[in-house]
């Protein structure tokens, strides 16, 4: 019996060792494969709810360039990110995948995992299909990577019947007007603004800081200002005053913002233009049931209106074996034809100014923002490095739930920022 146990143990140990070695040998990057054109591409994305719109776009591309696109949507962003990151350590490379600009894209570029798109960018900008000012979010060391997937501006959505009930006839043009509108809504028994303690807890911090001191906003994102600076503390205190005055909805509510707006539980929701798509899904009509206005600056002395802007990249793995098909498809994607199909399938904006957006409100906004009166501000979520953003989200979540002295929370974020920026030098 004793001999057999030893034998068993030896077998198990050998097998485990062999497996470990196999696993260690298996990890690592794959070599670029020979190009194999295909007639359909899989598009991995973390926008599971946009499946119908993507499917319509896939059908349009099949018709236009004989290359289809099949969306593979994830609804949980963390699961999706982990999936894409780990896919780079296997032989299966994603032909098309959605990602985030900022540090998340930089990580992939640093490891040479995404395909360069400099030539495509040069052409798209020259053709007027992609605005020049978008380029910076896709540029690393002078080269471009990925193409834009979407673009959105952050505006104030409002429930038209609540505004009517509160006797509001004109959209606010100044911050003072906005507060006056909020007061009227409050008097009508409706919470003026939507707020949440999870993920989108940053929205009001972003709006207040960008509308008060956009230079400080940019400096903070770049690690050139401190979270404990007087300007930031002031914004936190302004935020606290608004919360204390009862302007916000309950941050712990589980009901989705679109449902809260539809039900008239809140009058206004400060969100990106993709929110139109979410409202349309609830059978609300733009211009009839809901509308939006540009959020005025907190500081009226600023020369331009701060407009929070976000864009997401559509990328391809560097070692994709379908690279020629990917290029053909992404070349098509930036054209006005493709972008018209895309914008109208979701009721959203497009990054391409030549796309014919059916939603008149969104089309007017797109035109307006490309004019001189606006300063585009990169959305806080993309502008802030991941560990700093995560710590700040925790602090904001606690702050909106129980607003108090902001300093202890800001110190926590600054400690995280110090650690992060020290590693970058």
């Amino acid at each position: 019996m004793r001999r057999i146990s030893h034998w068993k143990a030896l077998t198990a140990a050998t097998m485990t060792g062999a497996l470990v070695l196999t696993a260690c040998g298996g990890a690592g990057g794959a070599k670029p494969a020979a190009d194999k054109p295909v007639d359909s591409l899989k598009f991995y994305n973390d926008k599971g709810g946009w499946k119908d719109a993507f499917t319509q776009v896939g059908a349009a591309s099949k018709k236009d360039i004989a290359v289809g696109m099949e969306p593979v949507g994830y609804s949980d962003s963390n699961t999706y990110t982990a999936f894409i990151r780990s896919s780079f350590r296997t032989k299966e490379k994603a032909d098309l995948f959605s990602w985030h600009t900022g540090k998340e894209l930089e990580d992939l570029v640093d490891q040479k995992l995404v395909a360069e798109t400099t030539e495509q960018w040069t052409k798209a900008v020259a053709d007027g299909n992609v605005p020049e000012q978008l380029k910076q979010y896709f540029t690393f060391d002078g080269k471009q990577y990925c193409v834009p997937l979407n673009a959105g501006y952050w505006v104030m959505y409002y429930n038209k019947s609540v505004f009517k009930k509160a006797g509001i006839t004109e959209n606010p043009k100044t911050w003072q007007d906005l507060i006056a509108v909020a007061d009227k809504v409050k008097a009508a028994g409706v919470k003026p603004f939507y707020q949440t303690s999870i993920l989108f807890s940053f929205v009001w911090f972003e709006t207040l800081l960008a509308g008060k001191d956009p230079d400080l906003y940019d400096a903070l994102a770049a690690g050139k200002a401190k979270w404990t600076d007087p300007g930031v503390v002031e914004v936190m205190n302004d935020w606290k005053k608004l919360i204390d005055a009862g302007y916000f909805s309950d941050p712990g509510a589980k009901t989705e913002p679109q449902a809260q707006l539809k039900n008239g539980d809140v009058a206004m929701v400060n969100f990106g233009t993709w929110f139109s798509g979410s409202l349309n899904t609830l059978k609300l009509k733009a211009g009839t049931d809901y509308d939006f206005f540009v959020i005025p600056n907190v500081n009226p002395a600023l020369p331009k209106t701060s407009m929070i802007f976000e864009t997401g990249p559509l990328c391809s793995a560097a070692a994709s074996e379908h690279s020629s098909t990917v290029k053909k498809w992404t070349d098509w994607w930036v054209t006005p034809q493709a972008q018209t199909a895309w914008a109208n399938s979701r009721g959203d904006l497009s990054f391409n100014p030549k796309a014919e957006v059916k939603d008149t409100g969104l089309a007017a906004l797109n035109k307006d923002v490309s004019g001189d009166g606006y300063r585009l501000i990169n959305r806080w979520f993309e502008a802030t490095p991941v560990p700093v953003a995560n710590k700040a989200l925790e602090v904001f979540g606690a702050f909106v739930t129980k607003p108090g002295d902001p300093m202890p929370g800001l110190k926590k974020i600054q400690a995280e920022a110090d650690a992060y920026w020290a590693k970058q030098k």
Binding site: K8, A398, K402
Partner: protein, 296 residues
């Protein structure tokens, strides 16, 4: 035991060969990920570049980070909560309904929530406990205080409320296990005790409780292990917040790995959590079984 005959000796020699596929599957799916996680816990690894050896840095960071210490305390609160509330409630339900004519029907409502997944429990209780949720509305309707309490909005109250939510789900299955334990108790000593005048609490204290010990060991053991890895309900109800006020170690592990892409830190928490679970189980079982042996 000595084996007689050549065929059985051959069989004994061949036996490990038959076990190989199973051993291979276990090695591939359990040992290998465990070894890999152990290795990663000593590295800086973002899931993209190759892991870089970092020694004990992740473990040092773990014990100096106040948020992780908070998560550790919340996890301990879960352990204490889960070995008391659902176990005591399960025991009460089992003892009070056992032998009753309608016993199984009376236990049924307690057992039904066990059929629901942890995530669904989180969603349901999230709606019950949200401000102006079902609980707040009920309190308001009855004119009782606390209608506008933010049950999930500050720690450690939010963790306690989530323990209540899980108790709602787990008490029934504990009751079922205790009933199985009660059924295995021989009738004669109970009859004898009853003849001697033991009844009610005295009968429970001196006859039932000591004989329920093996099943109590199982129930409490399962509760300890289950509570140490608490994740789903917390993730659904508060995502560990507001701030990190309701974060447990399992949540910290997830956040470090999949939100912050700090796989090394996540692996260190995973390994620490596994060791704590393993050590708690061994210590508890050894203590319980040791006591049982002494009594025997």
């Amino acid at each position: 035991m000595r084996r007689v005959g050549g065929s059985s000796r051959t069989g004994a020699r061949a036996a490990p060969l038959f076990g190989l596929p199973a051993a291979g599957v276990v090695a591939l799916l359990l040992y290998l990920p465990f070894l890999w996680t152990t290795y990663v816990s000593f590295t800086q690894y973002d899931g993209l570049a190759s892991p870089v050896w970092a020694g004990l840095a992740n473990y040092q960071a773990m014990f100096s980070d106040p948020d992780l210490i908070g998560a550790l305390l919340n996890t301990l609160l879960w352990v204490v909560g889960m070995v008391t509330l659902p176990v005591v409630l399960g025991l009460l339900v089992a003892v009070l309904t056992y032998g009753h004519r309608w016993g199984s029907w009376l236990r049924l409502p307690f057992l039904l929530p066990y059929a629901i997944s942890g995530v669904a429990v989180g969603v349901i209780w999230g709606f019950v406990l949200q401000p102006d949720g079902a609980l707040g509305q009920a309190l308001g309707f009855l004119g009782l205080p606390g209608a506008h309490t933010g049950w999930l909005q500050s720690g450690p109250g939010n963790t306690l409320m989530m323990i209540v939510a899980v108790t709602w789900q787990a008490a029934g299955v504990n009751a079922l296990l205790f009933v199985v334990g009660l059924q295995s108790i021989p009738n004669e000593p109970l009859e004898a005790a009853r003849l001697d005048g033991a009844d009610g609490f005295r009968l429970f204290r001196h006859q039932l409780w000591p004989q329920l010990r093996p099943i109590t060991t199982v129930v409490v053991g399962l509760s300890i292990v289950g509570s140490l890895k608490t994740f789903d309900v917390v993730w659904v109800m508060t995502q560990g917040g507001p701030g990190t006020s309701s974060e447990t170690l399992a949540l910290s592990m997830y956040k470090e790995t999949f939100v912050l892409n700090d796989y090394g830190q996540g692996a260190a928490i995973a390994l620490f959590l596994s060791l704590v679970t393993f050590a708690a189980s061994i210590l508890y079982l050894r203590y319980q079984l040791g006591d049982a042996r002494e009594q025997a």
